[in-house]
Symmetry: D2
Subunit: 383 residues, 4 copies
Amino acid sequence: MIGYGFMGAAHSQGWRVAPRFFDLPAEPEMTLLVGRNAEAAKAAAEKFGWAETATDWRDAVARDDIDVIDIVTPGDSHVDIAIAALEAGKHVLCEKPLANTVEEARAMADAAEKAAAKGVYAMVGFTYRRVPAATFARDLVASGAIGEVRQVRANYLQDWLVDPQVPLAWRLQKHLAGSGALGDIGAHAIDLAQFITGQKLTSVSGMLETFVKQRPILAEVSGLSGTASDELGDVTVDDLALFTGRFDGGAVGSFEATRMSTGRKNAFRIEVSGSKGAISFDLESLNELGFYDATAPADRQGFTRILVTEPQHPYMEAWWPTGHMLGYEHGFSHQARDFVVSVVEGSQPTPSFADGLQVQQVLEAVEQSAESGSSWVATSGTD
Amino acid sequence: MIGYGFMGAAHSQGWRVAPRFFDLPAEPEMTLLVGRNAEAAKAAAEKFGWAETATDWRDAVARDDIDVIDIVTPGDSHVDIAIAALEAGKHVLCEKPLANTVEEARAMADAAEKAAAKGVYAMVGFTYRRVPAATFARDLVASGAIGEVRQVRANYLQDWLVDPQVPLAWRLQKHLAGSGALGDIGAHAIDLAQFITGQKLTSVSGMLETFVKQRPILAEVSGLSGTASDELGDVTVDDLALFTGRFDGGAVGSFEATRMSTGRKNAFRIEVSGSKGAISFDLESLNELGFYDATAPADRQGFTRILVTEPQHPYMEAWWPTGHMLGYEHGFSHQARDFVVSVVEGSQPTPSFADGLQVQQVLEAVEQSAESGSSWVATSGTD
Amino acid sequence: MIGYGFMGAAHSQGWRVAPRFFDLPAEPEMTLLVGRNAEAAKAAAEKFGWAETATDWRDAVARDDIDVIDIVTPGDSHVDIAIAALEAGKHVLCEKPLANTVEEARAMADAAEKAAAKGVYAMVGFTYRRVPAATFARDLVASGAIGEVRQVRANYLQDWLVDPQVPLAWRLQKHLAGSGALGDIGAHAIDLAQFITGQKLTSVSGMLETFVKQRPILAEVSGLSGTASDELGDVTVDDLALFTGRFDGGAVGSFEATRMSTGRKNAFRIEVSGSKGAISFDLESLNELGFYDATAPADRQGFTRILVTEPQHPYMEAWWPTGHMLGYEHGFSHQARDFVVSVVEGSQPTPSFADGLQVQQVLEAVEQSAESGSSWVATSGTD
Amino acid sequence: MIGYGFMGAAHSQGWRVAPRFFDLPAEPEMTLLVGRNAEAAKAAAEKFGWAETATDWRDAVARDDIDVIDIVTPGDSHVDIAIAALEAGKHVLCEKPLANTVEEARAMADAAEKAAAKGVYAMVGFTYRRVPAATFARDLVASGAIGEVRQVRANYLQDWLVDPQVPLAWRLQKHLAGSGALGDIGAHAIDLAQFITGQKLTSVSGMLETFVKQRPILAEVSGLSGTASDELGDVTVDDLALFTGRFDGGAVGSFEATRMSTGRKNAFRIEVSGSKGAISFDLESLNELGFYDATAPADRQGFTRILVTEPQHPYMEAWWPTGHMLGYEHGFSHQARDFVVSVVEGSQPTPSFADGLQVQQVLEAVEQSAESGSSWVATSGTD
């Protein structure tokens, strides 16, 4: 595993826990954690349960006893690590968004395609697909339960940037993070909307807004965080992204990604309606799915609050008895499970790097639209 | 109409509004309002829209141009007015609880039975039966949608007595009010539970509790209210009633009535579960009914939040388009409508005085159980 | 009252009920109902409780014993009636949207301004401002309870057009209705967002979509409805409007109006967040307001579900005890009350025709933006 | 660890995960899993991640390299194992309910008291105390945030026994399970109500009911489960327990435990109200706590939905960023953490065996009350 921030903890939990609940064709071994700061890496490895550490990701790529490289670093370093790993014959799991630019993402997707021809696979970590309620939403839509999909409403709302004293960390700097709320959480909204509907966005019209334009710069940087100084620096990414989009199957969607929605901590809400029904999901109630069946008797229609904890639901047979809740991190166990199964079976895990590239193209199209007065931009616009 | 408190306003609204939305076989005329205090009665009549006033209810009973007597006074006066009115050939609508004692209630029920033989009808005002979601709950249960009924959970929670400075008004004195939370709101819980399940309580085990044992007595009484003095007097009714009961159809229920449940303003919640499903209702969301269908596919089961605002739902065709909400007072329009229809058709309106007597018997059984250490008491125990 | 459709019933209920609960400086008399079809008008007058009927609105304008003209006809007739009434010295209450075009709305606003100079007043019926929870939301925001307003999310979702067999009634024809979801319910979203935030939209970027492009034409038209024929006609208005907007106080908003959101009956949801808090409202739970106070202790923050039924809340002292719910129609009583009070006091009621014109300008700007590839259009763009 | 059923999986996850998120003074080693069936135990050990297996719990007690015995067997075996382990100087964590009878529980509590004098500690696994929202509820009540506690409403509702074809497993047989819903989930309700209020139940009045009186007996028993036969056997435990209780601090509570509440999967709801506020918790929304502050301004009062995911909340600093949800199993990590910290520090972990005994006494008092017509029984009644 390259990197050891918040995502490092989550991925580690996934690798550790998956084989305890699922029957895997191979048992993951948590061999090596890589971090540039040797001491911090060592502390993280001990905490997260990795056997060894290194300070250069090339060491991991070079080792024969390592089969899988898990990339949880900031977006600007994904491209180099992933391509080197794939070329060295390592399977790769890479956190989202795939890269900071379409160009990088395309290079990665190309490398992944070549590797796949040799049985070496790459996957991008859009983990929310593997929240059982989200997977089940996809299943319902795919089964025709809501008919022809017409409308999508996807809002990913957080509020950790409301306070103007939150300092200017890497996620607020365009050259490191690529974009702000758009790439950080809007990418999830795009991926999940496409996953659930089975349709791809073909064009978008959007706007970006930065409400707090300057923030305290970090005095000392330690790893990825640090302490705030008195000096202010410019925020170069968006606090809010609003966009509308058209899908290739005829649906229309509205999207919002914000880190300034006071009171919403991690409210990723997605509603999809069709000619025969609708589904409704909120990550703040992640074990629930709302389902409306417009074919039911008129006096019994309504949104059904399905507790997605039955053995019949995706992934749930492995866990607890009905009604016992899963949490945020379980998606990472499901991701680890599916990745291991695909790789050992010799099949392409999803979402692929090509899927990650496509999301990156949508993100770029939103940025281009925002720069050109919200005019419509095709999601393959840079070709 | 005899009386003009809060219930007077609600009943007046029912008589006024019902003919504007429903097709009635006769149009109610709001002729005479009776109150002991002439000035207050006059003010109320003007406010509520009654043509004339009087200070003695006997005047109303004596008038030939009056066909219906509507009783909204405190419980201790129901018996005299209702019986005199019925004997004078007036149809009677009487607020709940029917009376303060089983004896009074029995006399009223007897009078009603005699009157009905002559085509003169009496009805008791358990209005919540006529909240469309509650009526629809009854319909669902009666249709077998939840199978054999097994469990009932009925809580009626208010909090207006939490403040110990609330003075010692008539509702807190046993000789005027009969009982406290038990008769005031517990009576609703009993009636609605029996109405929805179609089963009658046969025995109960209960307890009563008074948390605030003394309150400021009223210095000057003006009508039914007044101002608090410095002197304290004893509260002689319950703040809380808790009881369990067995129904004649095999169901078991738990009941709670309290005016001390901090934060619950008018939370009348009733849940009924059976061998094939369940329903869930909360008066704080009175346009909604929760329905669980245990015969649905296992992965799609859940409580469906039915907005009971479709034209297919009880009473709703008369009102607004789908999704437009009703309020508390609409139950009184429905009550007025059903009363007028029954009386003009010459059929017994429900709930009858016999139904009111039965609720009174349950209330008395709860009090007897509470006095005898929560031992079980049959609801017909006083016979 | 000119017109007698769904809005006629609602306005009638407002005029009838307001004086029974509020102390008004003058008592409304329901004198004359006007409808082109004499028989239908007569039936409506009887149902809604109006004394007389006429078939030409000019009769109403000409009568000396009429002080107020209430216009509840489709939008294309508003301009003529309202201007004639104002010029005749009648106070006017006109349903929203004010008109079908900015030109008409401007003429009406000009006439209203001239009339106001003579003490004759005009008001437009954006009734949802007078849902107590919405009024209270405005009060909270105005008091600074959520700090500087930054984001608005306003969705008005219905689903009565999902069924492709719903016929081509006047609301689906541009020359009669002006626009589709946009003007019908989007107008409410615009007005309420501006009302609550105290900010005006200055520019918008939007799109319109019609999912069901043809519908059965009406065989026989009777009043405003009729029966469907086998022949299909073109739907000339939008099923869905999506737009983003910038407010003059720096806030950014996203708006959605749709009559195709399966399962949402009348879900008018508005969320406003600011630097210190947020509010959240849903018309499907119209007695509730969500309020988030970001200045509370960190471990006690959360959205508070305020039951807006306390005597301290707007309009509520006139109604029932705490916890007793209001319904959809109560906004019309509040509107009647406020209109009568303003007019008798000789002050301008709000929202004025100038306010209605401004909403019309926003609607037009959205249409212009939609026609020009979602580019930004100033809301005063037609000047 | 002795046993390996559902609770075995949960405890294993707790031991495995706790040290990865919390800083523990000692690292748990998962040494030995004991199960009577050697093969099944071996499979479980592999699955749950234990190094070795044995078939006799005495082997575990005899080993010098084992410091802690974790008991997750059915209740009838707790007494022998726990006492032997404590006498052998092993710290003990024992699943709830502590035992099947008060006598057994008392022997265990006595043994624990003696062991504690030597620095050997015992704890009973009422894990729900360690759901952060429940712990925080306790903190709020202890801080006086709801004033003097008056009412408790605790319902633990499941529905897995609604189906009459569910076979007669050990949990439905009195000699193995002690009681039915009462001991299985009612024990949780008792413990959590006492934990949150800081008050102990002193007397109870209750009833038990068995709706499905016969079920298919198990043809072949394999471990704790098996396959159903055609023959029916008697269910000797309750499906439903309803009881009321008085607390030593003056509060009054109502309790319900049922495995027949159709549609409720694991709905453990507890509401506590006091003179200044109230709290509300539902295990089906385990990351949330409702809090009502009756000292807030009258127009801003309401239940606040606190997402208990802030670093200021109990246990939460160790986990994910704000708004990222925990699941059912996290309580077991918190339990493992607290147990390890207490034991290494040499202090008594809570809940102690004495606490477990007290819960057992309440359970027995409920059974005695149910047998004697719901008369009140003191919770120390067997002394």
